[in-house]
């Protein structure tokens, strides 16, 4: 009892039964029905036992605690085992520690909530072939950029909408969404939804519910597809062009640009700047840069070499997966490292992102929500020494990380360069209607 844990009852023994619930609840969702029933029965039994004890020793209030606690602990241990078998998380880990369990799980339980890439095995319900195909592409990481995923999703939805017919006695504006939601569920099952997709889908829902009831069905569908096209054009493609221009202005003749991972926008910026005849060298990336007709001189370096290279760089250009309203940038794992290093060396860090990547949420670290990179990607890029998970070796490869706002100089968006601290004011400034 010396270690305070989630399972510890509060100091007074009389309320020792309720605290078992919070620890049981989060895990319940993941269990099978049978397991859940078993757990419930156990809890009921424990409660009954406690009550009986309390009734027996009503005179001495201290007594119930001592027999009650071990029993509870045992129960906690059991629940934790169940939770582990269901492949779940922090609570369980804490419980394990509490029970002094030396049995360290092989499955890194604190990270088990990270979205795992999973093959789409079965197709449930009425899923459009375009969505099935897209789901496969997502789960295989054939389409993986934030922009690419959003555009692919919207394009697939266009064909879904075109192939949809409103059943009799329904209106399109009411029924189409119920038709789309299983499609969305299917995509999310293939890979967790990205913020960009979320924003786009929210906008699409809005447009669907706004569509006129009296409109001819085909016209309404065309109008929706048109709206989707406009969204892709305005929020992504044209936004990219504006970003390209703005960021291009910040690249001076002779600059050395450092970039990390591969962002479609950063790639465009660098190629665009090259076309304007500025000379600079990019590091760290992209066959495309050197492979073009007008190659940019590049140095490709590994992340461990960053400290010795960062002093050479004049600007760091990064892409983003999503931006949160506290100014944090959610991007490919390793970005935070590069940004921090650059900040430490006084190199300005520019994050290029369209405003449709802004999320209203707040994210404080990269643990609360993340994805695990598929083994295939890891294998392809890692060194030849084969690292296979074994009894004592676990591989953890999160796909994203979070760069706090303090390490970012500016965010380049289509509405201008803005400091990360004012990201939260952008949706308001844009009138809130299009985010």
């Amino acid at each position: 009892m010396s270690v305070p844990t989630l399972t510890d009852p509060p100091a007074n023994g009389s309320t020792s039964a309720p605290p078992t619930k919070p620890q049981g609840q989060p895990t319940q969702k993941s269990m099978t029905k049978a397991e859940r029933r078993e757990l419930q029965e156990k809890q009921r039994a424990a409660k009954a036992a406690l009550k009986a004890q309390q009734q027996q020793g009503g005179g001495q209030p201290k007594l119930p605690k001592s027999p009650g606690a071990p029993q509870k602990k045992a129960q906690a241990g059991e629940t934790s085992k169940q939770a582990a078998s269901a492949g779940r998380e922090a609570v369980a880990a804490a419980i394990d520690e509490a029970t002094g369990g030396k049995a360290v799980s092989r499955s890194l339980r604190i990270f088990t909530h990270f979205g795992l890439p999973k093959p789409v095995s079965h197709v449930k319900g009425d899923i459009h072939p375009a969505i099935v195909r897209l789901g496969l592409l997502f789960s295989e990481f054939k389409i993986c950029g934030a922009n690419a995923r959003c555009i692919a999703t919207l394009t697939a939805f266009k064909s879904v909408i075109q192939d949809y017919t409103t059943p009799p006695n329904h209106t399109l504006s009411r029924h189409l969404m119920t038709h789309l939601s299983p499609q969305i569920t299917h995509l999310v099952a293939a890979r967790p939804m990205s913020v960009t997709m979320g924003n786009a889908i929210r906008q699409l829902k809005l447009e669907i519910s706004d569509s006129d009831i009296d409109m001819v069905e085909q016209d309404a569908k065309n109008a929706l597809c048109n709206k989707i096209d406009n969204y892709i054009r305005d929020r992504i493609l044209i936004a990219d062009e504006v970003i390209l221009k703005l960021a291009g202005n910040k690249i001076k003749d002779g600059d050395v640009i450092l970039t990390f991972a591969r962002s479609s926008v950063v790639e465009k910026i660098l190629l665009g700047a090259q076309e304007e005849g500025k000379k600079f060298s990019g590091r760290f990336l992209l066959n495309k840069l050197t492979g073009g007709s007008n190659p940019i001189s590049c140095t490709y370096a590994l992340l461990p070499a960053l400290p010795s290279l960062i002093t050479e760089a004049t600007t760091v250009l990064l892409g983003a997966h999503a931006l949160f309203s506290n100014g944090a940038v959610y991007s490919r794992a390793g970005t935070a490292l590069v940004a921090m290093m650059a900040k430490g060396h006084g190199v300005p860090v520019l994050v290029c992102s369209e405003t449709y990547k802004f999320s209203e949420g707040v994210m404080v670290d990269g643990f609360a929500k993340n994805e695990l990179a598929p083994v295939k990607i890891t294998k392809a890029t890692s060194h030849p020494v084969d690292v296979t998970p074994s009894q004592n070796l676990e591989i953890l490869n999160p796909l994203y990380d979070l760069t706090p706002a303090t390490f970012i100089t500016a965010v380049v968006t289509e509405v201008g360069l803005i400091p990360p601290s004012s990201i939260s004011s952008i949706p308001l400034a844009l009138g809130k209607t299009i985010l």
């Binding site: 001076k252 600007t315 300005p348 400091p419």
Partner: protein
């Protein structure tokens, strides 16, 4: 962004406007007024551009204004602060409700724009008083204040504070322009205890100071500050000594600009801090030339430098040093405690949010 309708004759007339009407001279003339700051002068200059323009449509008018702003930017020694004014005014003209004006004559609209511009400039002159009222609340009795160079709004604040509280002021000399002397003279005349310190003595004096109060050329989108060179180092020293660093800025100095570093400012050019230039010019002519005639004739310089090529030690005059040094520098937002402006006392984040809100539409 804007739709482009190339109408040959109107374009031509727009170009002639600029030629006929000397924008920079107008700008200089307006600046003669002691109370006038460059952004306001730029706004007034642009109202005169409207007056002299024979543009018949909004599109032409905005184009003429943009051209005028461009000329001003090229000719002004420090493009940043007039730019802030131009930007503000052009944004205002672009967003000015046309529809209501479309009914009436276009020249009426122009007259209205001119009137609005002039009224704004007039109104803006009262902003300093507002700022002084705000900032005085932060000045405690017996404060020791460090200020940099000369700023009208800082002067007004200090004079107001002097009426109510006992203050003493350290003023940096603020080379190269030496405007700190002007501040010191004005303050002494008003009876404020005042001492001029060297720019290099800021760190020495910092422990005696309660807070730093500076004016500004422009406040930029990052929440940072563009001000007479030396402000940045004062801010760094103040930060290191944990002293508050306050900036005073009228809202017309808010500028949609995001410098990433000192060298990203529009005022930066290749002449600043070039290694070769000073040496090419210098040897020879400095030994016998009075320092107030820096350039001399190029041919003479060449000759002399050829003559005394060997052995003559390179010398630097004030003028040469000035030429290869910046006028303004950029202070990062994290070094600034508060920005007092007529729209309120803002944190640097607040400034950037205000700016994003002001121009994002």
């Amino acid at each position: 962004m804007t739709l482009y309708h190339p109408i040959a004759p109107s374009q031509k007339s727009g170009g002639e406007d600029v030629v006929k009407f000397d924008i920079y001279a107008t700008f200089q003339r307006i600046l003669q007024d002691d109370q006038m700051s460059p952004p306001l002068a730029a706004i007034l200059t642009l109202t005169e551009v409207i007056e002299n323009s024979n543009a018949g449509t909004m599109f032409e008018l905005v184009k003429a204004l943009n051209e005028g702003a461009e000329v001003l930017k090229r000719q002004a020694p420090n493009p940043i602060s007039p730019n802030a004014g131009c930007e503000l005014f052009i944004a205002f003209v672009t967003l000015f409700p046309h529809d209501s004006a479309a009914k009436q004559n276009f020249s009426d609209l122009k007259r209205e724009l001119i009137r609005q511009g002039q009224q704004y400039a007039k109104e803006a002159l009262t902003y300093r008083q507002k700022i002084a009222d705000l900032a005085v609340g932060f000045i405690k009795d017996g404060s020791v204040i460090l200020t940099h160079s000369y700023s009208r709004v800082v002067m007004q604040t200090l004079l107001l504070a002097h009426k109510r509280k006992r203050i003493s002021v350290f003023v940096t000399e603020a080379r190269p322009r030496g405007l700190g002397i002007k501040t010191a003279e004005a303050l002494t005349a008003a009876g404020i205890p005042c001492s001029v310190i060297l720019d290099a003595a800021v760190a020495y004096v910092m422990d005696k100071v309660d807070f730093v109060l500076v004016g500004s050329e422009a406040v930029v989108e990052s929440g940072g500050l563009v001000n007479a060179v030396g402000s940045n180092q004062i801010a760094i020293i103040a930060k290191a000594a944990n002293k508050p660093f306050y900036a005073l800025a009228e809202s017309y100095k808010f500028h949609r600009l995001f410098p990433l570093s000192q060298y990203d400012l529009p005022s930066h050019n290749s002449k600043i801090f070039s290694f070769t230039q000073t040496f090419e010019r210098d040897p020879g002519n400095l030994l016998n030339q009075p320092s107030n005639n820096p350039s001399g004739s190029a041919a003479e310089n060449q000759e002399k430098s050829n003559d005394s090529l060997a052995g003559s030690p390179a010398k630097f005059t004030q003028e040469h040093i000035c030429q290869s040094n910046p006028d303004v520098d950029y202070t990062r937002p994290d070094l600034i405690s508060l920005v007092f402006s007529d729209v309120g006392s803002l944190t640097p984040e607040g400034v950037s949010q205000y700016l994003v809100g002001m121009f994002a539409d």
